[in-house]
């Protein structure tokens, strides 16, 4: 396909990308949004969002994202399917490769967010979709009346565990330490739930049983005593945090040890004209509202940058007067 030329291209369609699209569209920059495989981003994986301002009774994650999308489109943002496979910042305009297409863009806003981390066990990969999951709201349904495990100790692990008690007969939280990292309020809620039990100081060595094509247990090792045991469960939800989606930018943009893009002076990255917003550059707050707020910053920063490299054309009135 022919190359497209754009002033503003946005990678990602989560709260950060769609807010950047809204602001750029309203500035008449006709932004192109490449939505990625996870259209709508992480909030598509959740149920009610209770802390996005403006919705007194909460709003379902997918509904919020559909509304953000329509609002951006109403002002002229163009949102297309596709996943960015490669970027080239060595020349200007920048070049993006999306499948067989090539996109040239003066400015780029990166809003690729973060994805759930996995433990990295071969048996975990083999049993994905057959009992291993990273999405409680997607897959909890399959474990009605069955025992399951949730791996992790942060807010999201405890939230998933509490959510999964709606379906499961018992939820075992497997945590490497002897205390949770989660907030006090979440801990109190989880520990008070009669369906939740905790395996402290434990790590998952193996998921069983790839030969049966389904999870029927996990092998745990107690890190204090070294004792191993098998826990019979039908499902395992891995909730050990997130990793930023930055592999396509590796070597071209400054990132920290965790792979998060480093921004300065608002949303600027190490390459002039490339901006980053949302979870891809934030491992601290990781909220929809902060992602949206930083998406607004990136759009305004990109707009100012465009003005600085190409002074606005002389208007008819001005040229007539001169």
């Amino acid at each position: 396909m022919a190359a497209q030329r754009r002033e503003v291209t946005i990678i990602g369609s989560g709260p950060a990308g769609l807010t950047a699209a809204l602001y750029s569209a309203r500035a008449n920059l006709k932004p192109l949004v490449i939505e990625g495989l996870e259209a709508g981003g992480q909030l598509m994986l959740t149920t009610a969002v209770e802390n996005f301002p403006g919705f007194r009774d909460g709003i379902m994650g997918p509904d919020l994202m559909a509304a953000m999308r329509e609002q951006a489109e109403r002002f002229g943002a163009e949102i297309v399917r596709g996943h960015v496979h490669a970027v080239d910042f060595s020349s200007r305009p920048f070049v993006l490769t999306v499948g067989d297409d090539r996109i040239e863009t003066q400015t780029l806003i990166i809003a690729t967010g973060a994805s759930a981390k996995l433990l990295g066990l071969p048996s975990e990969r083999a049993l994905m979709g057959h009992g291993v999951s990273t999405c409680a709201t997607c897959d909890g349904f399959f474990f009605r009346g069955k025992p399951i495990a949730v791996v992790g100790g942060g807010d999201s692990a405890l939230e998933e565990a509490i959510f999964l008690t709606r379906f499961a007969s018992q939820v075992t939280l497997v945590h490497r330490r002897d205390a949770f990292r989660a907030s006090k309020i979440m801990q109190d809620k989880a520990l008070a739930n009669p369906k939740i039990v905790v395996e402290w100081n434990s790590e998952v060595l193996e998921m069983l049983d790839p030969a049966a094509s389904a999870v029927n247990g996990i092998v745990l090792r107690n890190l204090k005593t070294g004792v191993q045991k098998t826990l019979a469960v039908d499902g395992v939800f891995v909730a050990i945090g997130h990793t930023p989606n930055t592999s396509v930018f590796k070597g071209q943009l400054a990132a920290d040890a965790g792979g998060y893009l480093i921004t300065h002076d608002g949303s600027r990255t190490s390459v002039e004209g490339v901006f980053a917003c949302g979870d891809v550059q934030d491992h601290v707050y990781r909220q929809a509202i902060t992602a949206a707020g930083s998406g607004c910053m990136a759009a305004l920063d990109a707009e100012r940058y465009l003005e600085s490299i190409q002074p606005p054309p002389i208007t008819e009135a001005a040229s007539a007067a001169s």
């Binding site: 495989l37 598509m44 996943h83 979709g129 009992g131 999405c135 997607c138 399959f142 999870v215």
Partner: protein
């Protein structure tokens, strides 16, 4: 949209429409409440158009069809399985792009 080419598979028609079909069959296990399944929908629609006549492409709602869902031990969605001669020959779990599905399909044509 090629969605008119997408077949609805059920516990009742699975034997005849999938297991005994003459062509390979792509089955998308999905549910209404699954956000990522919705994101995958347009890709499945497009594949139905691209492979019309060569692969039959359809969706199976896991809520309404526990028989097939349990038989194939599907415990996570979206999961897409390719059946050939009544056997599962490929499976893709989670949202993937069209190129990945094409690669899997082309191996079996």
């Amino acid at each position: 949209m090629a969605s008119d080419k997408v077949i609805t598979f059920t516990d009742d028609n699975f034997d005849t429409s999938v297991l005994q079909a003459g062509t390979p069959v792509l089955v998308d296990f999905w549910a209404e409440w699954c956000g990522p399944c919705r994101a995958l929908g347009p890709t499945i629609d497009a594949l139905a158009g691209d492979y019309a006549g060569r692969v039959s492409v359809g969706k199976l709602n896991v809520d309404e069809n526990p028989g097939v869902t349990v038989k194939y031990m599907v415990r996570g969605i979206p999961t897409v399985m390719l059946f050939k001669g009544g056997q599962v020959v490929e499976q893709i779990v989670g949202v993937a792009d069209k190129a990945e599905f094409k690669k899997a399909l082309d191996k079996h044509l």
